[in-house]
């Protein structure tokens, strides 16, 4: 399996540290990664089957905002994150200056 980038591992770690379901902006805040980097990483993780997404069901006109897309780890993603990424947590947090626990 191809080695994951540090940014991708940080996103996986944010999933482990944060709430069960989260969304793009919250992940960007938690990891300190640039906004533009988050969504390509999420797509890649989704393609690998490590995360799944769902759209929030709201009445957009009544709420006055767009629906939100939530992501969560799959069983495979959780296993990989716990086996591989969790062990590197301390180092990853040092590498990302903007890191904050979600």
């Amino acid at each position: 399996m191809r080695r994951l980038s540090t940014e991708t591992r940080c996103v996986l770690l944010a999933f482990l540290d944060g709430p069960r379901e989260t969304y793009g902006f919250a992940l960007a805040q938690a990891t300190g990664l640039p906004s533009g980097s988050i969504y390509p990483i999420l797509r890649r993780l989704e393609d690998r089957g490590w995360i799944v997404s769902r759209w929030e069901t709201i009445d957009e006109s009544r709420e006055g905002r767009r629906r939100r897309r939530y992501y969560r780890l799959t069983d495979d993603g959780l296993r990989y994150a716990q086996d591989t990424v969790a062990a590197q947590a301390a180092a990853l947090r040092l590498l990302i200056p903007g890191w904050a626990t979600a």
Partner: protein, 249 residues
Amino acid sequence: MSTVLLVTALSIIVVAFLPQSRGAEIVVALLVHLLGSHLDRLGPRMARGLMRSALIALPRDERNDQFDEWIDHLRDAGDEGVQSLIVAIGLVVRGMPRLAGRSRMRQVFEHLVPLGFTGGVVANDGYKEGLWSPNHQTRVVLTIMRHLLVIGGLGTVSIIYDISIEPHQAPAIVREVYETSNRLERILVWLAIKLGCPTIQRNNIRGIVVWLIDNGLLVPMESLSETDRILDTAVRGRDGLLYHAVRPW
């Protein structure tokens, strides 16, 4: 927007022609302030416009979802003034090339790989006899391979060639094609898997067959017209399976 351009143009003119003047500095400061005010007011609208324009790079069916996700991100990041524009630029400049590159490549491989398999079925020596004369066969296969690139590149699907196989036989045939595929075809499959093409997974022959059937490349016998059925008699492979070519150009 035209006012913004006007203010910018005036600022440039003032800086260019009156570089030493004290008055010029004041005028420039004023103009820059005006420009800032305009950007504050127009920022969110410009941010949305920028994102909407950038989304053209994505396949059509992904644009709305991505737009909704970015708008939500923009709202959380503070959807006002220049800030929204800066966030939008970040999303577009850093995110779009990777998102679009991946989606487009995946789209290409989703089409190329199954069509490559279909080409493989046609090209396979075991099925040549009884289909066409050798010269005709070569021409058809080449035409298919050329169209694979065009179809993949444009991201469109069209019925280029129909091969009728009794549905329950299809998985075995495609599996056989995979097992006899050449290095290039296997590289295509590997790339498609790496890109996360949903219908193409290693050992997921069923996914490929479903794709072929969905796109009219494998036609169940029941769907053929009577005219087509007449031709069926000529198409039986060495293995005894039934093959049928429809509209080979």
